[in-house]
């Protein structure tokens, strides 16, 4: 936030609420929404075809039975993690700059995790039986297999979805009350009023609200680490060379934060531009997010290094062959492209000038998003296509439906996000007011 005198409780409330109530930037929003909607229709159509024909419409087969669907799953769930990191961990660390970006980062988490959760279900072959993963009373008296990481996965993802939703919603309640009180039409007053649950801002209500908010942040912090760790165990518990590695949980979590911060920047920069939020999402915010991107990028680079080192250190010929196959085999261009995208390109962010160059930062964020998708693809596919038996080696080639599901899911994410910025405050109003209040207390 700028130091202008005009920034006070009333102006920040009105400005952020008016993004929803007055709806500026109609045309760019409408064009983006139409494009995104078309992409998500393609996604729905592809899902319908998948349910009709089965996963054979994708390029997967034996030995590569996990293709784009699982890469997309790991990629999307990772993107979600930065939202929880910003809203929970930075809250606990009292990083005040998070206030302008936490709300839409939380929305990003929710939508990304929701889309991620769809992919393993699509991949099931008989997706209508997905509820077999859950413990429920059934006449066959069957239980899920508790020793399987796939069962841990559904518990981790569904808990993550529920906790992210609760965290996002209780942060929204006071802002929904602001919208209710500022809305001029009866319909909006009723709808925002219902979702605001009758919030009045009473002192004891605030105290309990803040207590619950802080506690949720506290439990969301280990949760977010557990989620991608469990996702990584889907791979690491198996004994496939290239999967069977103890570095996987931290390596996946670091990659999740890295890709998530890239997505935060990918969303923040257009949001700031089209809604003219330059004084709320300042260069300082972008600079800080870029620093986190650089730091997590190095954690990911360490993961790449550890994979190579552990491959050779194991002295296992299959592990060594997998490492060398990644760097020189048929998928080598993907490996080197991801090294460039995730390790080389982010190094420009060492320069303060680069971190404050919005267009360049946006470019780096897009490159990292692409690089992280390729990393997920590299992990999933290159380990499977050549394992112990050379006679069963084969290649994975994506089909048009693979691409439709990937691009369609991005469209669906964009639809959800665009609806969010149109109907809900993209920046937490009460937390910006609180930040102003604290600033005043410090000054006086």
């Amino acid at each position: 936030m700028s130091n202008e005198v005009s920034v006070n409780y009333a102006t920040v409330s009105d400005r952020i609420a008016d993004l929803v109530l007055k709806r500026p930037s109609r045309w760019p929003w409408f064009v983006g929404f139409t494009l995104a909607l078309l992409c998500s229709f393609a996604f729905f159509f592809a899902c319908g075809w998948l349910f009709w024909k089965g996963p054979g419409i994708w390029g997967i087969n034996i030995p590569v039975a996990w293709g784009y669907a699982i890469s997309n799953f790991v990629w999307w769930i990772g993107i979600g993690h930065a939202g929880t990191f910003i809203s929970a961990i930075l809250l606990l660390l009292r990083q005040h700059w998070r206030t302008s970006i936490n709300r839409f980062a939380e929305a990003m988490t929710l939508f990304a995790a929701g889309i991620a959760g769809i992919f393993p279900i699509l991949h099931l072959g008989r997706p209508w039986f997905f509820y077999w993963l859950l413990p429920y009373p059934n006449v066959m008296e069957l239980w899920p297999q508790w020793r399987s990481p796939l069962v841990w996965d559904i518990f981790a993802i569904s808990t993550y979805l529920v906790v992210s939703l609760l965290f996002w919603y209780i942060g929204l309640i006071p802002d929904l009350a602001t919208l209710r009180d500022r809305a001029k039409t009866r319909g909006r007053q009723i709808i925002y009023g219902l979702f605001a649950l009758g919030w009045r801002g009473e002192a004891r209500h605030w105290a309990r609200h803040q207590s619950a908010y802080l506690l949720l942040a506290g439990i969301a912090t280990p949760l977010v680490v557990s989620v991608h760790s469990v996702v990584s165990l889907d791979f690491a518990i198996g004994n496939t060379p290239g999967y069977h590695s103890t570095i996987f949980p931290p390596y996946f979590v670091a990659g999740a934060l890295f890709s998530g911060f890239a997505m935060v920047l990918t969303l923040a920069i257009p949001l700031r531009h089209f809604f003219k939020l330059h004084d709320l999402i300042t260069l300082e915010h972008l600079d800080n997010a870029a620093k986190v991107l650089l730091a997590t990028g190095w954690l990911v680079a360490y993961g790449y290094f550890a994979e190579i080192f552990m491959g050779y250190y194991s002295a296992d010929p299959f592990e060594i062959a997998t490492v060398e196959n990644r760097m020189t085999g048929p998928y080598a261009p993907i490996y080197w492209a991801l090294i460039v995208c995730n390790v080389v390109v982010p190094q420009v962010l060492w320069q303060r000038r680069a971190r404050r160059n919005v267009a360049l930062l946006f470019g780096v964020a897009i490159v990292v998003n692409l690089g992280m998708w390729m990393e997920r693809f590299m992990i999933v596919v290159s380990s499977l296509h050549r394992d112990y038996l050379p006679s069963s080696w084969d290649m994975f080639r994506p089909t048009g439906w693979d691409w439709t599901h990937l691009i369609g899911s991005i469209g669906m994410f964009a639809v959800l996000f665009l609806l969010f910025v149109r109907f809900l405050p993209a920046i937490s109003i009460y937390e910006v007011r609180e930040e102003l209040h604290h600033r005043r207390m410090r000054h006086s």
């Binding site: 006070n8 409780y9 009333a10 409330s13 009105d14 413990p135 008296e141 069957l142 239980w143 899920p144 297999q145 508790w146 020793r147 990481p149 069962v151 841990w152 518990f155 981790a156 808990t159 529920v162 906790v163 609760l166 919603y169 209780i170 006071p174 009350a177 602001t178 209710r180 009180d181 500022r182 649950l197 009758g198 919030w199 009045r200 801002g201 009473e202 002192a203 004891r204 209500h205 605030w206 105290a207 309990r208 609200h209 803040q210 207590s211 619950a212 506690l215 949720l216 439990i219 969301a220 280990p222 949760l223 557990s226 469990v230 165990l233 009460y430 007011r433 609180e434 209040h437 006086s444």
Partner: protein, 175 residues
């Protein structure tokens, strides 16, 4: 009773906190304070307040953990035992991830729904919404209310007392 209480409006958080303390000092006990953002110490200033949310969250977490672990132990050893190469049925290390997730889920649900229940929310209507100026409580104004069930509540006297606190406005809240 036709009224809910008397409402006074203030311009700033410090003014509200000060007014709340003076109101308590004047002997009133059924006080409510409203602000557009959380204000430290305000809950304690309007009356004795004990925060039960941490305890509730802990209870939720423990219930979730115990319930999650019990479910897996019961399924794996009693309801549906499968012998996999003679490995132990009660294989606790592989029960840890699900136990952790159910603990988090229990804690989160108790924290959020406990907060709502203790705040008596959701509430479709409240007498305070009868005061048109109260809509600024979610924007930039701070309000103090003495409820009419306060043993010392007397309309004229409360109004006169509020005027001494230098408010922007004093209103009676109709029910």
């Amino acid at each position: 009773m036709a009224t809910y209480g008397m409402l006074a409006e203030f311009a700033g958080a410090e003014r509200l906190l000060e007014a709340a303390r003076q109101t308590r000092a004047a002997g009133y006990s059924r006080i409510e304070a409203y602000s557009p953002m959380p204000v430290e110490d305000l809950a304690a200033a309007v009356g004795p307040f004990r925060d039960r949310i941490p305890m509730l969250t802990l209870i939720g977490g423990i219930l979730g953990a115990v319930g999650g672990y019990f479910m897996q132990w019961y399924a794996a050893t009693i309801s549906y035992p499968i012998n996999v190469g003679g490995r132990p049925l009660h294989s606790w290390p592989s029960f840890v991830p699900v136990t952790f997730e159910t603990a988090v889920l229990g804690a989160a649900l108790f924290a959020v729904f406990g907060m709502l229940a203790l705040n008596r929310l959701p509430k479709l209507h409240h007498p305070l919404f009868n005061v048109p100026e109260f809509e600024l409580a979610s924007r930039n104004r701070f309000f103090l209310c003495i409820r009419c069930d306060d043993p010392r509540y007397q309309q004229q006297e409360v109004r006169r007392f509020f005027e001494t606190l230098d408010p922007l406005l004093v209103r009676e809240v109709p029910r």
